[in-house]
Amino acid sequence: MLDRAVFGRLVLIAALAVAATNAAAFDDSKYPDWGGQWKRPRGVGTQWDQTKPSGLAQQAPLTPEFQALLEASIKDQAAGGQGADTHVGCVTNGVPRIMTATFPIAFVITPAVTYIHFEAFMPRRIYTDGRDFPTDEEPAYHGYSIGRWLDTDGDGRYDTLEVETRNFKGPRTYENSGLSLHPDNQSIIKERISLDKANPDLMHNEITSIDHALTRPWTITKTYRRDRKELWQDYECGEANNHVVIGKENYFLSGDGLLMPAKKDQAPPDLRYFKQTQK
């Protein structure tokens, strides 16, 4: 008769084999299905808080100094300027604005890193291998992101990715109104990304910004909708960019490629380095 000890050992060996194999392989079934392209919901613009119009209507909890900066930015934009929005030169806005998903985004999940792909910018790498924040990295617009997978409903499968991002450079804005993060670049951005419980083709990203331009942490939730049919375009910001930045001034290019003022009574660029004058 097979005694209990032998039986127990067989079961234990089998269980250990499962555990060992799990450790060796990328167990796809442990991670959520975030495949496909993720886009902004139809009718939603590129404002930071999707539930409110951009600019002052965002009701961002700004310090008085940064509230004044936003108001000045909006005033300058009304006069034809760019205000505090720096994207005119096609430099990335980094985190958190990149998560607006102006163009489609995609997630590629591996045990050590979750990659977020963008059409126009380099991907975000969210490290989930248990590392700590490094002390010798160059600051970046994307910052440095460390994530942790959570199984919040205990069904044996991860459903939520918690991300913390630090180590920024700037300038960075939340949206094109010029709503700005603090230039000390000490922001900490926390995200909780998960699929909608009722509709797996919706994703929510709860984003909390902790920043010295704010009087308190500011939390908003971005929603993305899934498109299983991935179509990736060559999106090149600079290709059809009619803005020309010369020094601190932004100008505009006409359809025939001539320099134009971007705002009323704007002075032309200083041409002191040219011998010849244009006829």
Binding site: A17, A25, R131, E236, V244, G247, P269, K275, T277
Partner: protein, 290 residues
């Protein structure tokens, strides 16, 4: 002696475990089928080769490449070189920080990363362009694509040595392409019809697993014959490498106004990029600068 009921009981209790084992082994086997291309791959520099990186890494850029160009495209290369001697630019997209597409995206100007999944191999180039997608899910060429610089890549994994693990990724990249595209910043051109086809074989060196070879063949109407070269990438031994943010537009001192390229001085003033260059036409400005 084992009695039948004991065996039956064991079989019954072990069945779910066996099923789990089979699934897990299947996942492990799937994972083990792909080669280890993890980590950060850097362009292998060939000592003594002058100029900026070009298609054939063993030869200097520009004319030094000895590209098998048709006479028409050899003349275009000559004109591109002449325009640079004069301080101007040809239709090189790099001056405006625009992407280059195939084949320049394969050169590894910035550190490269491969993410292999059964359906897609992603090549992260972290440069002016960011991601190449090589589809390995058995799909056919789509018919309704917009032209792109990087084209559309379909790959096939091959187990050449029959050891049960893939070792070579064969890739074919077709258009519709758009252009202009060049092999290097000297201006070695691809045909303006944008009908190029690229065939690649990517594999890890048998003797040194930290070298990755990419044999690339270009079939293009600007060439008199297919042009094949082998480029190498070298793996960074650091298991947690730094991925620097490369933002071309940040600090780009070139300013394109219409068809003219100008330069920005350190204090942000417009300067001619070549001798006797006329300043931009300011007819749309009311005020003139004093």
């Amino acid at each position: 002696m084992l009695n039948r009921s004991t065996i039956g009981a064991f079989a019954l209790r072990a069945a779910p475990l066996a099923a789990a084992l089979m699934m897990t082994f299947a996942a492990a086997a799937e994972d083990a089928k792909y080669p280890d291309w993890k980590g950060q791959w850097l362009r292998q520099r060939v000592p003594g080769v002058a100029g900026q990186p070009s298609f054939d890494p063993n030869k200097p850029w520009g004319k030094g490449q000895e590209a098998p160009l048709t006479p028409e495209y050899q003349a275009i290369l000559d004109a591109n070189l002449k325009s640079q001697e004069d301080g101007a630019f040809f239709d090189w997209r790099g001056v405006s920080c625009l992407g280059f597409g195939m084949p320049l995206i394969t050169y590894g100007f910035q550190p490269t990363e491969f993410i292999i999944t059964p359906e897609t191999t992603y090549v992260l180039v972290d440069w002016v362009e960011h991601t190449r997608r090589i589809f390995t899910d058995g799909r056919d060429w789509p018919k309704d694509l917009e032209p792109t610089l990087v084209g559309y890549s379909i790959g096939k994994w091959i187990d050449e040595d029959g050891d049960g693990r893939y070792d070579v990724l064969e890739v074919e990249t077709r258009g519709p392409f758009r252009g202009p595209r060049h092999y290097d910043a000297a201006g070695v051109p691809l045909h303006h019809d944008n009908e190029s086809i690229f065939k690649e074989r990517i594999w890890r060196d048998k003797a040194d697993p930290n070298i990755l070879h990419d044999q690339i063949t270009v079939i293009d109407h600007a060439l008199t014959r297919p042009w094949t070269v082998t480029r190498n990438l070298v793996r960074n031994p650091d298991p947690r490498p730094t991925w620097d943010e490369f933002i071309c537009n940040e600090g780009n001192s070139h300013v394109k106004i219409g068809k003219e390229n100008y330069f920005l001085s350190a204090e942000g003033l417009l300067m001619p990029a070549h001798k006797n260059q006329a300043p931009p036409d300011l007819r749309f400005f009311k005020e003139t600068r004093k």
